[in-house]
Amino acid sequence: MSMNGTNTRSASFWIQAWKRLLADPVARICGCILAIYLVVALLSATGLIAKGWNDEVGVSYANPVFAPNEPNPEGDTSLIREDASVTDDETKAIDPLAPKYEEIAKLERTNADKVTVLQRLLPLGGDKTGRDVLAKTIKAGQISIAIGLAASFIAVFIGVVLGAFSGYFGGKVNDALEWVYNVFTSVPYILLVLAFSAVLGKGVGTVILVLGMTGWTGTYRLIRSEYIKHRDRDYVQAANAIGASHLRMMFLHILPNVSHLILIQLSQEVISFIKAEVVLSFLGFGVPVDLISWGIMISDVRSELVIGKWWQLASCATAMSVFVVAFSFFTDSLRDALDPKSSRR
């Protein structure tokens, strides 16, 4: 409360919160873990690492370096080559491409691929088709984290806007939005997800939209109740007395006061969406085939445990669990730092 004469902007709420966060050892450790994941995800997104996750670099179920001697009959099988076909005269007689056989043969030679040797040992092993599990896990992490972030942005955005309107205006607006909320929460979640997936088609965007559009209700409730609380606070009344417009009051005056809750909500939703993506993948509504996610990996490799190929499940389960657990702890610390008055959790 001292009033020294320096004209510098004093420590804002956010800087103080940041300091509180840094003071928490759990937050520091989890923050570091998350930072590593984010850096890896960014590197993977920019193509610097895990670019070749979809390349088949090893034999089927190539062994991981830490279990090099597990028997791998599948690996041998995957090396079997099929015989080249021989075009006979009878076929030539009916083949519409026959006139260009020679040209094709010539072009075939110029178009040949280089022969690559398939690895029998990979850092974290290989999957069914011989892709590098390490690269796959990294790429999957990038996609899953991106989905989690994007979906939670959408969900929180929808929740905040609707919650703000409903809480701030009350009355008819509130009735209408509460109706929408009630309808959404009365339909079983799984049906809602299935229905939205059917409507929206397929793709990463769909996954994000499905999660975002079905996951806004919690944020809506929270923000609505906060706005109800805040709209009668004196500082809002003061802004009203000053002559600030409704939108100005909603988003310029009140929003900064609930923004910490929004941030907490965001990070909470990231976790729940990363988990929801797993269920979505299990239902067959995951990301498209040219992409990979943790959810897809888990639902694809469920069976591998039984046949003794535990490394893919182990690495994606570990990668995901470490991330999600660290994120949860970080969210708790974040809540402590941002909302010190509320009792933890």
């Binding site: 599948e74 995957s78 076909s85 006979d88 491409l97 260009k100 691929d113 239902l283």
Partner: protein
Amino acid sequence: MKLKSHLRLINSLIFSFLAVCSIHASAAADMKKTLHFTFEAAETGFDPAEVSDNYSNIIIANIFDPLLGYDHLARPAKPIPNTAESLPEIKENGRIYVFKLKKGIYFADDPAFNGKKRELTAEDYVYSLKRLVDPNKNAPWAFLLQGKVVGLDEKIEEAKKKKKFDFDSIVEGLKATDKYTLQITLKKPDYNLPYIMAMQNTGAVAREVVEKYGADLDSHPVGTGPYRLVEWQRAHRMVLEANSNYRGEVYKPTTEVDPRDRDIAKSFEGRSLPSVGRIDIRVVESGQASYLSFLNGQIDILIRLGAEYVSQAAPGGKLSPALEKKGVKFYSEAEPDTTYNLFNMDDPVVGGYTADKVALRRAIVLSYNNGKLVNVLMKRQGLIAQSPVPPGITGYDPAYKNPLGGFNLAKARGILDAYGYKDCDGDGWREAPGCKPLMITYLSSASAGSKRDTDELLKNGFDKIGVKLKIEMTPFPDLVKRRQSGKYQMAGAAWGADYPDAENYMQLLYGPNKGAGNESRFDFPVFNKLYEEIATMPQSDERQKKFITMNRLVAAYAPWGLNAHRIRTHLVQPWAKGFKYHPIEQPKFMYYDIDLEKRRAVLGE
């Protein structure tokens, strides 16, 4: 099956008298014996005329009796009489078939019969077959008879108009000439009719039962077969019990038995069928769960083990030592089915019969790594398909190798280069001739346990030859509908044999069948003519040759990109006997037996 199959069919008429002898004694099924069995997908119902899914059909096959059946052990599949005294008498070069029924076959008891014993008659078959084509029902099996039987199509049209099928009016081509004789007259010769009459869905239902239960017939299947349904918890559990009215059978192989199956054949000696009193069937959708329960002894016979577990149970095609020690038996058999990628021949980009269009399809076919599909994705639980016709089917030639098939990226690129599919704008993807944009959409369906890995394989091939592929996911019902109506470019499909004849496959590419079975909308005059010929003749060398020519046409014009024939692996506990997987016929529990003592000994109960 290059052999003179037709002659064998005739021959078997004679042998078949011996095949299954009715012993006319009440069944000696041991009610203490319960067989535990699983379905990997839920059943839907048990009205033979209404349902078409595999799992419901297993139940139907064990409750209802078609006129003919298949020899349990004979391979290739061989029809034998079931409720018929013998194989049918064939007249007018396969246009008229006369079936004579065994006497003294009774339906299982049911309140619909008012406490009386109800004997099976030829009229029951007339009625049951008419039900199959009733247009006011889903009638998934109508195609078996529609367009084939004299006078039947008119009845169908009439029923459509009246919204009611008149079962009492007589159809010329489908009538009972006396109490035990059924005569079927066809519009043109068709030597596949006996096969149709061996399908479980042509089994006899009693009219009284149908009329009594109406919409509930689903849950009241009453037939003359060895079992009856005593408990049904939908999509979860079915319990069958031996039908006390069953005529009782003894099985003796009609042909030389494969040496591997001798033990099985032996197990039938002195055994009257059915042997097991109760069959307890559960729906277990999770492959992991059913495999683990088998290992725990909770399941006696596990058919169609998930491919991913085969390499565990039988690595390299040999039973694992652990299971070997337990005495588990293991059967690996090719199924008469074919998976393939469809091209829509009416599509402006991938369809058409000109060389450049053919070139695109052929390149795509060459880019698909069938070897990887079979060896890695299917874990060797498959054979690379060389022709549309799968093994175990009349018309299949194991010596025939697809002359234009194989996985050859260099050649695929060569073909595309030769026909002007080049990368004009340097973005790494090829354009259509004349630098028109080229992107192919593949239709796939999303569901729990989707076939993501095969989609990945396809995409991989396209990427390697520089053709853009978009995979569109759509609900399964829509996928089916769009394939039927030709609203797609490329899609995956599979066909399992209805009856063991190559005609069943070739009809899928017959021009006039567009919009009904012919989903690729392939319409090529030479092929159409060949089909019309093979459809009306019995199997012969000449017919076999025509099949080969048709195979070559399919390879050259590539309306289909052939993928694989599935191999299925089945596991049997040491205490279960009599199991042999039949390629056409559904599993029939009456052949199976259980050694209770052995089970007790092994499980240590």
